[in-house]
């Protein structure tokens, strides 16, 4: 019995000594993050996605704390959106200009139905690796490989690969436009675009001549230039049309969709319903 009591006593005393030492040391060497950083950090989303360009939310909060007003428009948390950025501007005492919400879109519509798929890739599921030697399941050297590098880097679960389509599908509700998938895609198919229903984009990245591109894929941009006649802001370069963000979407939306002979000009609605 005495053995039990002594051992309990010894453990208690040792514990007390250690606890007190730690308490006083932590008091003496206490490191206090500045009030503002803690405040900003508490309203940031805290997913550490890196979409802002910093290593995590804390690094971003520190960067905001150290910033000057002129830099503020370039510092942006793509996940949090305008509301949170407005609060941060309040904390920092800066002016805030509202930004349009963005969404990631994939500029390829090479679904199983639209392409002729002859090739089979049998190795490690990685687009970066396959891109070195594998042209794709179809014959388009610019199209989506469908091996899912983008969905593996997505922190929000916004990307899925539809079995019937064979290409990634972006969920507009979940996508927070952090841009991780843009860096992951070895064929540079993903782009951030303004999130509204009138927004149009060319769902193709094929630079081959019209006849060759058409052979590979039903919905390939053939570079005919019809859309450039409707809206002068549309750029046609290297057999591929590109619709810049400043194009007048609201005015010409329907006309542009109808004019494209290969149906490669799409909006979010069409991409969603595409089978």
């Amino acid at each position: 019995m005495t053995l039990l009591i002594t051992s309990v006593l010894i453990i208690t005393i040792v514990g007390l000594i250690c606890g007190l030492t730690l308490y006083f040391v932590s008091k003496k060497f206490e490191y206090k993050e500045s009030e503002r950083v803690m405040q900003i950090l508490s309203i940031l989303p805290g997913v550490n996605c890196g979409g802002c360009g910093y290593t995590g939310c804390e690094a971003f909060a520190k960067a905001l704390d150290n910033s000057v007003e002129a830099d503020f428009p370039h510092l942006k948390c793509p996940v949090a959106g305008n509301k949170v950025m407005m609060q941060i501007a309040d904390i920092l005492g800066y002016e805030f200009a509202e930004k349009e919400k963005e969404i990631a879109v994939i500029k390829c519509n090479g679904t199983i139905e639209n392409t002729i798929r002859n090739n089979v890739y049998n190795g490690l599921k990685s687009c970066a690796l396959a891109n070195q030697t594998f042209i794709g399941s179809g014959a388009c050297p610019f199209g989506c490989l469908g091996l899912g590098d983008c969905l593996r880097v997505c922190n929000f679960g916004a990307i899925t690969i539809d079995e019937k389509k064979g290409i990634p599908v972006f969920n507009p509700e979940k996508c927070s436009a952090c841009g991780a998938c843009i860096k992951a895609c070895p064929r540079h198919l993903i782009e951030l675009r303004p999130k509204n229903n009138d927004m149009l984009f060319v769902a193709c990245m094929n630079h081959e001549k019209g006849a060759v591109a058409k052979k590979h894929c039903k919905v390939a941009c053939i570079g005919c230039g019809k859309c450039t006649k409707i809206d002068e802001k549309i750029i046609l370069a290297d057999n591929l049309a590109y619709i810049p963000n400043n194009a007048d979407f609201a005015k010409n939306s329907k006309e542009l969709i109808d004019c494209c002979p290969s149906k490669s000009i799409v909006n979010l609605e069409i991409m969603k319903n595409e089978k």
Partner: protein, 439 residues
């Protein structure tokens, strides 16, 4: 005495050399040839001909770009049809010069007689210039421009020249046939390379499963000064530069180093034969020997094909059916590359075409790693493929670099040995790609 080999790792497998007794056959000329501008390691060559130009066999059609590059010559005589994009060995559309074949008219300065030229008249500079002008690249598979390899930097010293007749890959027999049929040319070629490099001693490494080549080479090598035939134990990947140097000289190339760092230069016997033809006969690199093998027992043989001939032309020549082919591989089973279709033209580095049946074409489903360390045992570079694969899956490429993934020679021994069928080599390749991207 036991045959020499390299110390670390390696795998033993059935060599499947079905074509080793089949003499090299010349092929009929095709109607069109498709000559790719990128058949070598480095920058693509720049075309110097235009649509409608008449070319002869051996006419320069593309000039080496600055830096790492090589000349490309016309392999047929005829008219340049166009310069267009066609699917090449890389799997992607490549720029190709398409020539319509009209007759077989050779450039005047090429010596087309079959007489063997024994006397080496040229000096070192002339030899190196001829190698450069003839567009010779390493014909074992990597396609490194030979003139750059032989022009090693000042201050380095080359002691040994090693002729690579190992051919450790499965199925391939083109080097074996070349050594049996053109032994004199290869031996003279070795003397030329020795002169170009300024070395006294040369070795020819041949694996023990080619007894005919070894006996012929040993018999005739005595007539030449400073050439020694080294029979080697059969083990893959002995044909790799670093493994071959270790097997023959016992020296190890340091991590990230080149063979010249240990005083060696290695060339494939196919390259040496091309050097002989370039220096003694003024003939640029326009044809090569290619092995056709695989599961289909009707399409077998060693052929001398002009660069740019489509594979489909050779198969049509044999008038054989290709039904049931599930995979076409350019090169050997271990290091070769799967092709998109039969319409891919032959390049300077394509040593074989293997046709694999549909039932063998797919990889088996992989399962979990059981930590048996088979991959560590067989890795000839002393890496830990299982660890690299784990790191690649986590995306920790920085740590992969610390684990020396850049030393991986992509021989595929780990994937071959893995009982769980994990794509270990793919993961190592992915790591190498990501690390190169970051640079």
């Amino acid at each position: 005495m036991k045959n020499k080999t390299f110390k670390k790792g390696g795998v033993h497998f059935k060599a499947h050399k079905f074509t080793k007794d089949m003499p090299v056959k010349e092929l009929l000329l095709p109607e069109y040839v498709y000559i790719s501008l990128k058949q070598h390691f480095g920058a693509p060559a720049e075309p110097v001909v235009n649509k409608g130009d008449k070319v002869k066999v051996g006419t320069l059609i593309a000039k080496a770009a600055s830096g790492l590059s090589a000349n490309i010559h016309s392999s047929v005589s005829g008219t340049v049809e166009k310069i267009d994009k066609q699917i090449g060995v890389s799997g992607y559309p490549e720029d190709m010069i398409i020539i319509k074949v009209e007759g077989d008219d050779w450039e005047e300065n090429i010596n087309t007689s079959s007489k063997i030229e024994f006397l080496i008249k040229d000096n070192r500079e002339q030899i190196l210039r001829k190698i450069f002008e003839s567009g010779i690249v390493g014909m074992g598979g990597a396609g490194f421009p030979t003139h750059i390899k032989y022009n090693f930097p000042e201050g380095k010293r080359c002691e040994f020249f090693i002729a690579n007749g190992v051919e450790c890959e499965t199925h391939l027999t083109c080097d074996n046939r070349l050594m049996i049929e053109r032994f004199h040319e290869i031996l003279i070629g070795i003397q030329i390379c020795k002169k170009a490099l300024g070395v006294a001693q040369a070795f020819i490494g041949i694996e023990a499963n080619k007894p005919e080549a070894i006996s012929i080479m040993e018999k005739y090598a005595r007539e030449y000064e400073g050439i020694q035939v080294v029979p080697l134990m059969q083990k893959y990947p002995q044909g790799g530069e670093k493994q071959l140097i270790e097997a023959i000289t016992g020296r190890q190339v340091p991590s990230g180093g080149l063979p010249i760092d240990v005083g060696c230069v290695v060339s494939n016997v196919g390259t040496i034969f091309a050097v002989y033809e370039a220096v003694q006969k003024n003939k640029p690199l326009i044809d090569r020997i290619i092995t056709f093998s695989g599961d289909n027992k009707n399409i077998l043989g060693n052929f001398k094909a002009r660069i740019g001939t489509k594979i489909s032309h050779i198969i049509n020549n044999l008038s054989q059916e290709t039904q049931g082919v599930g995979k076409i591989i350019a090169g050997g089973m271990m290091t070769g590359k799967a092709l998109n279709s039969f319409d891919v033209p032959i390049t300077k580095t394509m040593s074989g075409v293997l046709l694999v049946d549909e039932k063998n074409a797919f990889r088996e489903q992989d399962s979990n790693c059981i930590r048996c360390a088979s991959c560590v045992d067989v890795c000839p570079m002393g890496l830990q493929p299982y660890l690299l694969t784990l790191l690649a899956k986590k995306g920790n490429f920085e740590e992969m670099k610390n684990e020396n993934v850049m030393d991986c020679i992509e021989c595929g021994s780990c994937t071959y040995a893995c009982p769980a069928k994990i794509p270990l080599l793919d993961a190592c390749r992915l790591g190498k790609i990501k690390i190169r991207e970051k640079k």
